[in-house]
């Protein structure tokens, strides 16, 4: 049986204002051809108070727009309030959770369905099987996996009834730390950061001393400078058994990005044409599918 591949809009990783946040999801709800949307703060617990009051209305609006809504958990949990955030998320039995730190498994009642986010280390069949046994229904595989691993894990996922998803668009998450790099490069401490990460809606570019574009920092998170773009790999990924594709929100026209992916998933256009269309949409971005090409040697 062939099922229609789905599109997931991942959680917004950057620090946008509450109004930008609300407007972004309103447009997604009304116009974007995505099947599900992950909402919530993954990167920095200090950002959440700015938009937490808007979440329930946004969930409702997205659901009315026909989207499945998941709540995303924080990626790195160390403080008391962050542990409480995780516990509160688990206590909300009405919503499916995207688990981004295994702290969530300490709270989750056995058997309740959940999605495994791309920041969880699922590198092999044993880990996948364990998580499936705990209630995982979908796994977004880590972006650093080579294609051979994705292929094997998509097959293993199918055997245990789990949907395999890959990170298909957006700067790739590379690392998370207790230290805030945005604060550091602005000469500030994390506790008094003045939310300087809000100045960079897609992260702050890190260049080498020779002027090579290298990375992007987003508070405590480090991302690739390049935008991951697997449009050119859709066919072989689908053939390998990947059934869902993740788009990570950026300040570009995400409705249009989703549309390009949807058309190619429906077989409406050639891969090369879709790649050209996406490049036209983001004229300043550099694209890469490097984890697939460099590691799959």
């Amino acid at each position: 049986m062939t099922t229609r591949p789905t599109l997931t809009l991942g959680p917004l990783l950057f620090n946008w204002t509450a109004d930008q946040w609300t407007d972004f999801y309103a447009r997604i709800a009304d116009e974007a051809v995505v099947d599900r949307v992950c909402l919530g703060e993954v990167v920095c617990s200090k950002r959440l108070p700015y938009y937490i009051s808007r979440i329930s209305d946004t969930i409702e609006r997205l659901q009315r727009g026909g989207k499945e809504v998941l709540l995303s958990s924080l990626a790195l949990v160390t403080l008391k309030r962050e542990r409480q955030m995780s516990a509160d998320l688990a206590a909300n039995e009405e919503m499916e959770i995207e688990v981004n730190d295994l702290t969530m498994l300490a709270h989750k009642e056995c058997g309740r369905r959940f999605t495994v986010g791309p920041l969880i280390n699922v590198y092999n069949e044993g880990t996948l099987a364990y998580l499936a046994g705990q209630g995982a229904v979908r796994v977004c595989l880590p972006p650093e996996l080579p294609f051979t691993s994705v292929e094997l894990l998509a097959g293993a996922a199918k055997r245990v009834g789990v949907e395999a998803e890959v990170w298909a668009f957006g700067r790739a998450p590379l690392a998370i730390s207790g230290r805030c790099y945005h604060a550091r490069v602005h000469g500030l401490a994390k506790d008094n950061c003045q939310f300087v990460c809000g100045e960079d809606p897609d992260g702050l570019k890190v260049e080498t001393l020779d002027g090579e574009d290298f990375l992007a920092i987003n508070g405590v998170q480090t991302l690739s400078y390049t935008y991951c773009n697997l449009l050119g790999d859709i066919c072989r990924l689908s053939a390998a058994g990947v059934t869902s594709f993740r788009l990570s929100p950026h300040s570009c026209d995400m409705v249009a990005v989703a549309q390009i992916f949807r058309i190619i998933l429906d077989g409406g256009v050639e891969e090369e044409a879709a790649v050209r269309e996406l490049a036209a949409l983001l004229p300043d971005a550099s694209f890469a599918n490097g984890f697939f090409s460099t590691l799959n040697q």
Partner: protein, 332 residues
Amino acid sequence: MMVGKSQLELVCPAGTPASLRVAVDAGADTVYCGFQDETNARNFPGLNFSPKELGEAVQYAHAKGARVLVAINTFPRAGAVQLWHEAIDTAARCDADAVILADIGLLAYAAEHYPDLRRHLSVQAAAANADAIQFYVQAFGVKRVVLPRILTVAEIAVINTQTSCETEVFVFGGLCVMAEGRCSLSSYATGKSPNMNGVCSPASHVDYHEEDGELVSRLGEFTIDRVSKHEPAPYPTLCKGCFSAGPYRGHVFEDPVSLDAAALLPQLAKAGVTALKIEGRQRSRSYIRDVVSSFRRAVDALASGDPAPAGELRRLSEGQTTTAGAYRKTWR
């Protein structure tokens, strides 16, 4: 020597059988090591143990009252999990005192097949709070967790009051600034990662060359640092490199410093820590002898209430500069 309950356990690195003997003789309570393959996070050429060498090393250590832990702490590659299972089988057969694991599939395998083999949670699992640690304790019977190098002493104290497992903390050597096991920076620059290949910023991808009177160090396709050609060039570990971000030019992630928490031993003991870990399986025997002896003296001094011998380790640290890292909150 038996370790009293109130005394901190000293856990020391051994990259080779000879280093292991040196560490044991210099006063290590416990030594950790790995096999000669990608199952461990220090998969460097010329390092690590064959199964036969591990068996002999365990015998040597046990005869002297020391323990041996085997690090099998990378994340098994899909389709090749057998290699990692065999590593656990071998550690159990060699009578190792514990295995240090990060991958939950491997933890499940070890708990099922070797329930009596002690399981320690590797720093690579990045279990950074009491709830996450309790998950590993309940699901896989983990007895000890090696804490990520991003926690403050106060946070470590809370973990010790709220979990039922021992904690081990890094006190000396290399310093990761990212949550370990959750960093693919090296992978992005070189295609080789700590999680998958057991290497970070590998020497095989390093290039040094002179340009305009400067010594340029590169990792993969990227310049990591530039120094005057009269200065010693730092090894281009990605997160210790010099970059620019906006108006800032410098060490965006971390200065080229290494960890020295020797001065914090009393606080760490008070925070309920069980064991102190020294990083550096790739280090020489003479380095191991000096560091282990120094920490032996420091731990013994602490146990007997004498003043700690401070600062003597500084000359051993990379770049001659050290930090107490995240243990002090201002680091963040």
